[in-house]
């Protein structure tokens, strides 16, 4: 079978990111493969290691710098990669349409997508790609088991979890808990350099126009009140309740 893992590159969680009038300044920031996408790659590798004959392809849509994240997926064990290279930023619906073309062309049986992007926090891509492909979709997936032509999944629902079976081909988006991704071994990092990384341009997949235009970007900051209530616990608790009521929290 053919498994495609969608890869995104995001700033390292510890990176200090500045916001300027022109938008988010990513100068000097370390980028890594999105952790949610790593779950996808790891799951694909585990499927293969369980004895299923599978070719694993990492696919990314993004700027040139994404190459590093793609190499990480290859170093983890993906067989080859396709990089749809563009410096333009697209909305998830347009991204999904572009990626669906690549996935369709490869005639994949299973598509693994990160549950939520670590930078802009969008969780739309998996669902949108399923829609574009007309495939069934399981979101927030924490368990995945393959049978001959279906996938049995456990996924988080609003209150609790559900177990579903989906006919293949299908789109699975990942959730924390699906697995514990491996670290690439040194020999596999060396090998990753020699694996195929095919480049595609937007024209190769018919081009695209984003449905949204970004006017301004800002970093979310949380102002804290820094109120510390001291003294006798009983009195402090009463004061806390009063404050919470005042601010209409309770």
């Amino acid at each position: 079978m053919k498994i495609i893992c969608i890869i995104k590159q995001v700033p390292d969680a510890e990176a200090r990111i500045r916001s300027t009038a022109a938008g988010i300044d990513l100068e000097g920031v370390t980028f890594v493969i999105d952790g949610m996408d790593e779950y996808g790659v790891e799951q694909a590798l585990r499927i293969r290691e369980s004895g299923v004959e599978a070719e694993i392809i990492a696919v990314a849509l993004g700027p040139k710098r994404y190459e590093e994240a793609i190499r990480t997926a290859l170093a983890m064990g993906a067989d080859r990669a396709i990089h749809l290279e563009t410096e333009e930023a697209f909305d998830p619906i347009t991204q999904a349409k572009l990626l669906a073309k690549v996935v369709g062309e490869e005639a994949a049986d299973l598509l693994l997508v990160g549950g939520k992007e670590a930078d802009w926090d969008s969780a739309a891509l998996g669902a949108a790609t399923a829609e574009a492909l007309g495939w069934p979709h399981s979101d927030w997936t924490t368990e995945l088991e393959l049978t001959a032509n279906s996938a049995k999944v456990t996924h988080d629902a609003d209150e609790g979890s559900e177990v579903l079976t989906l006919p293949l081909p299908a789109v699975i988006t990942t959730q924390q808990g699906l697995n514990e991704p491996r670290y690439p071994t040194l020999p596999n990092i060396m090998k990753a350099k020699r694996k195929e990384l095919k480049k595609l341009s937007l024209d190769d997949v018919g081009g695209a126009v984003s449905k949204i235009v970004i006017l301004k970007q800002e970093i979310q900051t949380r102002e804290r009140l820094n109120k510390i209530i001291e003294g006798d616990p009983m009195e402090a608790a009463q004061q806390l309740v009063k404050l919470l009521q005042q601010d209409k929290v309770i």
Binding site: V32, Y183, P184, T185, L186, I189, M190, A192
Partner: protein
Amino acid sequence: MVNEIAILDTKQMNFALPEDLLMMQRSVREFAKREIEPLAAELDKRPQFPWQTLSMMGEMGLLGIMTPERYGGAGLDTLSYVVLLEEIAAADAAHSTIMGVTSGLPQDILLNHGSAAQKERYLPKLASGEWIGSFCLSEPHCGSDAVAMKARALKVDGGYKLSGTKAWITSGGEAQVYLVMAKTDPTAGARGVSCFVIEKGTPGMYFGKPEEKLGQHAAITTTVSFDDCFVGDDALVGSLGQGFVIAMSSLDSGRIGIGAQAVGISRAAFELARLYAAERQAFGKSIREFQGVSFKLADMATRIEAARLLTYRAAWLKDRGYRVTQEAAMAKLFASETSAFVTHQALQILGGYGYSKDYPAERYFRDARVTEIYEGTSEIQRMVIARQVYRDLGN
């Protein structure tokens, strides 16, 4: 002093690390930060040989970096080794000591001097981390003057009988494979020393209690004693009487590793002090704005950079087949003294918190100290270098 190596290679001068090495560095940094660094304080408080993380390192290929792929290693060069060892040392010095010994000494020795059978038997298990290796040269009464060793290997029918005590053995009792230097001819000085590979569990081999040390507690250190311990002829590594030469030549690569380790500890201490100085306020500003603090940071950064370059260069020359006795000694000497300087200054910059176990500054300070002692003290490195600078006039 004319350095011919530098003249030969000026056309190739290139300070960029290869792309795949950068990727390995990033990957190992991430691993060390996530898996090793969080354990360091606890391992310091309640020392335990860190088998679990060592086995993860083994899986990644970090315990056999320079051992060829044919023997299950990663088949990389010395430069890769020092770059990656620095990453482990920055997370926890004890891990890097165990890593440095098992890869820099036993694997290096077996690879260069072992018989085909010895290589087949030991290298794959050492390179994968299934087994850890130890190096036994020092004794309770002699370290710098290693030729004064008393350990004796007496020729008997079919093999040798060893007796004597080795001291300060890193991974003693935990390691499976011991490269032991003992005298086969006590009248022949350095030429009377031979090297043996001995497995844990051999009758007549005993381990002492872990030494209580200043730092690096998880890198367990014990004595290893031999009491009429019989080993077969096939335990001899290299030829009879070659043991001292083997030990000294492996120390060339071992010392480059200590250089990398010292750079790693220094880097961790510097990074801690750098961030602390940007946050801590005194007299209405952050302390980094005081020249007295910022100049310390400037000196620390400069020395770390110099130490790293000396270490890289020694590794790079070794990879090109040069004998690096002098360069390895210089890298080890400068990097270890740098780590003492940098960890001292880092502790100072953190003030009272530097002296407290709430921050790792005091641990870095303790962990760094031994880099000036093992694999040849700073005094011994200076002797080696001084001898080398008069090479042309004859030693």
